[in-house]
């Protein structure tokens, strides 16, 4: 369970948001919306523990994430609005390195399967530099489903995806939620995900 109470975010003198709170049980997802610059990404980075909130607290299964540290990070998958890929490495090399950095060892077959699932099997050995924005997002999608963390924090997951990739994302997401996963998403699109487990958070100054 991911719980946040009274979160506020300040950028210099300016306060972006204050008093943000929610509680997500297993299988629930949170759709964060807000105008450009409202602080959606800042909120997500707080939830990951990358930046400390100006006020308020975040807890995972009842324990503050600051104290959990590494054991919280082991359960977390974060994808920013930019897919974290090395342009000079191939898609499969990127996935292997990303998994190893998370502390997982993936064999070649598992990586090939993950890329096959996002329909990139044919260009797995091409440097990522040659892929389109949408294809890079698909590699990110493979990265997200590959290691199976229970908490997904995704910034604009649908940006640059075509209809087929959106369907792939929705399917992966539904599977994740059905197996008791939790997700926090931002985006200006509507997600075709179960509404009964949806929570909505609109942040505004």
């Amino acid at each position: 369970m991911l719980q946040a109470t009274g979160l506020s975010c300040a950028r210099g003198e300016r306060e972006l948001f204050a008093g943000v709170g929610f509680s997500l049980p297993a299988g629930a997802w949170l759709h964060v919306t807000g105008n450009n610059g409202a602080g959606k990404t800042s909120l997500l980075r707080m939830l990951c523990g990358l930046s400390p909130p100006a006020a308020g607290s975040i807890s995972w299964n009842g324990e503050p994430i600051r104290e959990l540290g590494d054991s919280y990070r082991a359960e977390l998958c974060y994808l920013g609005h930019q897919t974290p890929l090395k342009e000079d490495l191939t898609a499969s090399e990127n996935l292997r390195a990303a998994a190893a950095i998370k502390g997982r060892v993936l064999d070649t077959a598992a990586i090939a399967r993950a890329l096959e699932r996002v329909e990139l099997g044919g260009i797995a050995e091409l440097p990522v530099r040659y892929l389109s924005q949408g294809q890079k997002r698909r590699v990110g999608l493979a990265q997200m489903t590959m290691t199976g963390e229970p908490l997904w924090v995704l910034d604009e997951p649908l940006a640059a995806l075509d209809a087929a990739a959106v369907a792939l994302f929705t399917q992966a997401m539904a599977q994740h939620l059905a197996s008791g996963g939790i997700a926090v998403l931002t985006g200006h699109h509507e997600f075709a995900l179960p509404l009964d487990t949806r929570q909505h958070l609109r942040i505004a100054a």
């Binding site: 990951c48 523990g49 990358l50 930046s51 400390p52 590494d70 054991s71 990070r73 082991a74 977390l76 974060y78 920013g80 930019q82 897919t83 974290p84 890929l85 090395k86 342009e87 000079d88 490495l89 090399e93 292997r96 390195a97 990303a98 998994a99 190893a100 950095i101 998370k102 502390g103 997982r104 060892v105 993936l106 598992a110 440097p127 290691t147 199976g148």
Partner: protein, 227 residues
């Protein structure tokens, strides 16, 4: 899929960075060529006076290596910061300081070790004898990792700052001075017959100290840069 230990994560970081360096050879060669050019221009400019060349050799070669390794400092974390992989490293359950150490190790292998290997060839241009060349190599073998470790702190502190190139030089230059003094001093002492032992021991002590503290300091600075 099986969970791996921290060692595997560090190894993955080193492997990935070496692979990247192999794909972008020009960056490696820039550092090496800079060192070769600087060290080769001095004998040409000063002329063939073996005694003079021998006496300036330690200083010139060490300053050349120091400037060359500084040239590569900016790139240590900048690319990872820009493409978001640094964030993923910070979010890994594996110790961030260890992975930072992996990055520093990869950086040294790419931009420090080649300088050590090419140094004896450059030393020949200064008419250094075999013993002095040996000490030069040994001092650089301990000195270049020290430069990478200390430089990493500066590179991490200036990450994401505009004009970081100038700033990182200003920050790290004073910290480089002990390495320069003891490194060049060891070669000088060997040439003058005093023996390089004392200088090399001090260099080794500095290296051990930096090995222990620099990855932690760098990791802490990177976390601040990522906030």
């Amino acid at each position: 899929m099986e969970p791996a230990n921290a060692g595997a994560a560090v190894f993955a970081v080193v492997r990935r960075d070496l692979l990247l360096a192999a794909r972008r050879k020009s960056e490696v060669l820039t550092v090496l060529f800079f060192f070769v050019i600087v060290a080769s221009l001095f004998p040409l400019g000063i002329g063939a006076e073996p005694a003079l060349l021998r006496s300036i050799a330690p200083g010139v070669l060490w300053v050349g290596a120091l400037l060359a390794s500084m040239l590569a400092l900016n790139r240590m974390f900048a690319q990872d910061y820009a493409d978001g992989t640094l964030e993923q490293m910070a979010l890994s359950p594996q110790p961030f300081a260890l992975m930072t150490a992996g990055k520093i190790a990869a950086h040294w292998l790419v931009s420090g070790l080649p300088l050590v290997l090419v140094a004896p060839v450059l030393g020949l241009q200064f008419d250094l004898d075999q013993r002095a060349l040996g000490v030069l190599m040994l001092s650089l073998l301990m000195g270049t990792p020290l430069l990478s470790l200390v430089g990493a702190i500066g590179a991490a502190l200036t990450l994401g700052v505009r004009g970081s190139g100038l700033l990182v030089s200003l920050l790290t230059l004073p910290l480089y001075i002990p390495a320069l003094v003891f490194g060049a001093g060891s070669v000088e002492a060997e040439i003058s017959g005093l023996g390089a032992g004392a200088n090399l021991s001090l260099l080794a002590a500095l290296l051990v100290l930096a090995l222990f503290f620099a990855p932690w300091a760098t990791a802490a600075a990177l976390r601040i840069a990522l906030e």
